[in-house]
Symmetry: C2
Subunit: 406 residues, 2 copies
């Protein structure tokens, strides 16, 4: 391992579009802030990661952001974190990378603007960066994926059904995402592995740690073909708050969420609620009404009209299949997509520069609209392939090469 080199203050004075500087800046932000903080995420989105770090080091960042950083903003572990990660076979995937699961996480960007920033506990904001350990590309693995979650205190029935579901999803080419916890999570990962498919574990601690310790061998097995993902940098402990924000990440990465067994106040119900907040299909596997391990599942089915009963992998794919196809590749770009844009969206699109990306507040000033409006329409424009995000901000998307004969 090479020792950390280069002072952060000197580094962030460099080109804000330099990919390695962007990665280092996001590594630093990931260590400095707890994940799932809306104010921080929005501010980094607006400034760009390099400028954000520059402002924090210089003490010119907004007061709320500086307060959250606290004394951490005086230290720099970014190169060390990246080195520790690399030694563990992990990398930092950032929004500026091709590997970023853009389509999946788009729902968090939408939710962030819809739900506002008041309720911190819901944490419906995109991650600043993702620590990813394992071989496959993250975006490709979650593109057709389903979250299978449930009780830690599962029964043989629940373990059996979770394993069966994941194996069934695997044989149909779908990835199982879960939290590597004891019980249903572990059974779900094992079902996918037994079917010879990669699976994705999203942890509430650093990707170099195995939590719970009892699943260390399972996590090692997951890493052979699949991925372990976390928002927290290497070495981080699985603190309570991180489970809540981890749950929203599971709900966002997967195209749909299935709850297998859940007692009355199970954490997996929180994951299901997050998935509903994100507009994802949520499904529940019923069980005997006499079993405490199914009480939460039945409550969920009773209280949320949008939660669907499922009993097999085929039924799960009936619910998510359509979404999977729709989001599988870049969405088709009809000839007249510009005609369908709102007035604000058209003005923001016209304000986008062709070469160097600019932050949303500049776009809003040029387009003559509120910054919030610009933030609201940019993801839509991006989804239509009309604009793209660069480290310095938004610009018009480069035209995609058309297939021959198109």
């Amino acid at each position: 391992m090479s020792a950390p080199t280069g002072s952060l203050a000197a580094a962030v004075a460099g080109d804000p579009a330099d990919p390695e500087l962007v990665r280092r800046a996001r590594a630093w932000l990931s260590r400095t802030f707890e994940p799932g903080d809306g104010e921080v995420v929005r501010w980094v989105e607006r400034s760009g990661p390099v400028a954000a770090v520059r402002a924090l080091v210089a003490g010119t960042a907004p007061a709320g952001v500086r307060r959250r950083a606290g004394r951490r903003s005086g230290t720099d572990q970014s190169l060390a974190d990246l080195a520790v990660a690399a030694r563990a076979g992990a990398r930092l995937v950032v929004p500026e990378d091709a590997e970023w699961p853009r389509a999946a996480l788009h729902c968090l960007t939408v939710a962030q603007h819809r739900h506002g920033s008041t309720d911190r506990t819901t944490a419906l904001v995109p991650p600043l960066a993702l620590w990813v350990r394992g071989g496959p590309r993250l975006d490709e693995l979650v593109d057709r994926s389903v979250a299978v979650v449930g009780s830690r205190a599962s029964t043989q029935y629940g373990d059996h059904v979770a394993g069966d579901l994941s194996a069934g999803l695997a044989t149909r080419g779908w990835t199982t995402v879960s939290g590597a916890a004891t019980g249903i999570d572990a059974a779900a990962h094992r079902g996918a592995l037994a079917a010879g498919a990669p699976t994705v574990a999203v942890l509430a601690c650093g990707v170099d740690r195995a939590y719970p310790q009892g699943n260390a061998r399972l996590i090692a097995r997951i890493l052979e073909d699949g991925l372990v993902v976390s928002e927290s940098p290497p070495g981080c402990a699985p603190l309570g708050h991180r489970f809540l924000v981890r749950n929203r990440l599971i709900a966002a990465l997967a195209q749909g969420t299935v709850v297998v067994e859940a007692a009355a106040r199970s954490g997996s119900l929180a994951t299901a609620k997050r998935a509903l907040d994100l507009g994802r299909p949520v499904m529940a596997v019923p069980g005997p009404v006499t079993a405490a391990t199914s009480v939460g599942v039945h409550q969920l089915l009773r209280s949320e009209r949008d939660v669907q009963v499922v009993t097999s992998a085929a039924e799960v794919l009936e619910a998510v299949g359509r979404f999977g196809v729709d989001l599988a590749g870049p969405p088709p770009r009809p000839a007249d997509v510009r005609d369908d844009l709102s007035d604000v969206a058209r003005r923001v699109l016209d304000a986008c520069p062709v070469r160097t990306g600019v932050p949303p507040e500049r776009l809003a000033a040029v387009a003559g609209c509120a910054e919030l409006d610009a933030l609201r329409v940019l993801p839509v424009l991006e989804l239509h392939g009309l604009v793209e995000r660069t480290p310095t901000g938004w610009r018009v998307a480069r035209p995609q090469p058309q297939p021959h004969g198109a």
Copy 2:
């Protein structure tokens, strides 16, 4: 037992409002026609029961009705049937009786007009009469009742849950209605009996028979405090078609229907579908997805958005309680109910005579509307307590005595 006396032809020449003649006429109709036949029921409603029998004996009834009666219209077993019933402790309850479960069966009158007469299999028509065996008043027992139905091939789990539900309903003052079949039906009746409450068994055969034979003791036990009900006259065998029309009667009599266990094509699913057709709350008790006995329940929950998961008697009453209160007594009659009537309803009401009831076609002629429109609004007027049905047809309802101080 007194021998049958008096020729039918001579009897039906008498006063069509004579209650005993009405009862005999309906006993004869009940023996002559299979239950659940829309054309027959509508014709009897229009003619009145005594005039209907008169027309059939004289050969002047509509061709379709005569064809259905076949050679049966040449024989008369009415007094014998009434005598056999009386000997078994049973009676014939007719729509002209105070005991007729008018509020509960109103949904069939509504469904009959909504769904039309083309699909005979759904049989969504009111009964011509009900053979009732046992002590309590039928209308009072079903006023706050829930149907608990399910597989004949039930498991211990299903039996336990059905019994528990019915006992829980009983302790809250609600009656369980079911079909006295092996499996879930029997467990439901037993649960109510164990809680010391009367229960109602609706049979597809005559009330003097015990079907299935294996439940003879259970049926005898039901008769000690509760009721056994059938549309078919004494001695009738439980033919296949009668189960279908029996199921719609269970769905109509109860304020809501709960399916406990049901295999893929269980008859209890038909009862649930009938209850949905009738606008009744339908509930399902989930079970292990690995059990064949719950496959039909889960299919029902997946295919019908209006079917609610329930796990306890309290949850059942959450769904039906409101309806139970609303339909418990005669609905309140607001001072301005006439102001809310449609134009047609007001004209039909104005056309109703004060003394001797007249058939709907006469009302339609006076009101200047189609007969179908008159048939559509008459149940509404009846529900509001504005009109009432007599053996000869409809007339303005006698004002109810007002409670003191009202």
